[in-house]
């Protein structure tokens, strides 16, 4: 549903999520260390080859993620033609395109659950400060549940105000809506505590319990 993941069984799909994210981060740093068009262009070709060739992603899946910034890239290119030179403009645009395509490939070939696991793993050093990585997964799950809920409550309040004669969207509806959903969130918190997801630390923290989790 709410994901840009494209199912598949390729080598790229099966590669560990942590490895893919690590390579992407390395690419992000590496591309800014070079000014050579051949290197930057080569990175774009490799990213496209991995996405379209190895991962067998449909062309549309990559294009959809790059499309929103097409105009920006064009503006950037024209700007460089006017202010600097063709070479700098080409490198700047190719660099951003390579990064965008590489990131789109990782997003399209990695399940949300695998990425949540990486986030939990990345957060594990924070245990020292009393953060429990599992609770991060809990917050993410709650957010995904709250999104349709907030949208539905907003629609209901808008209807109620329309029934009383308010014919257009007014910001006054934000206050009752917020109070309503804040109450609901507090209830969810209580329900979680009642089911044993309370604040008691799994093991004794070094200082104060649970600074943030």
């Amino acid at each position: 549903m709410l994901s840009l993941y494209v199912p598949g069984h390729s080598v790229v799909h099966r590669a560990p999520a942590g490895v893919k994210l690590g390579l992407l981060a390395a690419l992000g740093v590496g591309l800014f260390l070079t000014e050579r068009p051949a290197v930057v262009g080569g990175a774009l070709v490799v990213a496209l080859a991995v996405g379209l060739g190895a991962a067998r992603l449909p062309w549309r899946a990559l294009a959809a993620q790059v499309r929103p910034v097409w105009l920006w890239l064009a503006v950037l290119f024209v700007f460089h033609l006017l202010v600097t030179d063709l070479r700098t403009g080409t490198v700047a645009v190719l660099r951003l395109l390579a990064l965008l395509v590489a990131a789109a490939v990782v997003t399209a070939t990695t399940r949300v659950t695998a990425l949540v696991a990486v986030v939990e793993w990345l957060a594990s050093p924070l245990r020292v400060f009393g953060v429990r990585p599992a609770r991060i997964g809990l917050v993410i799950a709650m957010t995904l549940r709250f999104i349709p809920l907030v949208a539905e409550r907003a629609a209901r309040i808008r209807e109620a105000q329309a029934a009383r004669g308010a014919d257009r969207l007014r910001w006054g509806m934000a206050v009752p809506l917020l109070v309503q959903v804040l109450r609901m969130a507090a209830t969810v918190g209580e329900a979680l505590d009642a089911r044993g997801a309370d604040d008691a630390p799994a093991r004794r923290p070094r200082r104060r319990p649970a600074v943030a989790s």
Partner: protein, 188 residues
């Protein structure tokens, strides 16, 4: 952090996502539309306070990074963090944190004026202070160019700051979420 606080964090991450569903207002000649999502950044800070507000935006960005198309216009995935305007995204948790910090500072005498101060410093100044240099760095564009380019958004941002402040003051009266440390509360 209590379970209730986790639920508040998740709630505001969701609210920022829902605000992304409001159709963005396109600005002629600019590739970036005006969206309602920074309104969510301001609300997160001025309703939840510094820590929970900042965390709410971190959770939101984490979901976007995982491929949920939650940014306005249905964008998402890791690629949005590599784009030239990604600095504005990175600034959101910091902006919410700063707004929350100022709101907590003003909490006792919090009214529309103080709310505006908090929302304009955190929700406009901080966001531009991070977003503008990022654009010039990523796009190899001089600072002045990316600065003048972003001036178009100032009127929209001012409107959002006023709306967020009105809502924050009303929510404080109806359902205050920020609690100051009890030590200082008993002293007053």
């Amino acid at each position: 952090m209590k379970s209730r606080d986790l639920a508040y964090v998740a709630l505001f991450a969701a609210i920022v996502a829902v605000l992304g569903l409001i159709p963005p207002v396109p600005v002629p000649g600019l590739p970036v539309p005006i969206t309602a999502q920074t309104l969510g950044v301001m609300l997160a800070g001025s309703v939840l306070g510094a820590k929970r507000g900042g965390l709410a935006l971190l959770v939101f960005l984490a979901l976007v990074a995982m491929g949920a198309p939650l940014l306005s216009g249905g964008r998402g995935g890791l690629s949005v963090f590599a784009g030239p305007t990604a600095g504005y995204l990175y600034s959101w948790p910091i902006a919410a944190f700063v707004i929350g910090l100022l709101t907590q500072l003003f909490w006792r005498r919090f009214n529309l004026a103080w709310a505006l101060v908090a929302n304009m410093i955190g929700g406009i100044l901080v966001i531009y202070a991070i977003g503008i240099p990022f654009t010039s760095l990523f796009g190899d564009v001089p600072l002045w160019a990316s600065f003048t380019g972003s001036l178009t958004f100032i009127p929209g941002d001012l409107v959002k700051a006023v709306v967020a402040s009105l809502v924050a003051v009303a929510v404080r009266r109806a359902y205050p979420v920020i609690e100051l440390p009890t030590r200082r509360a008993t002293a007053s």
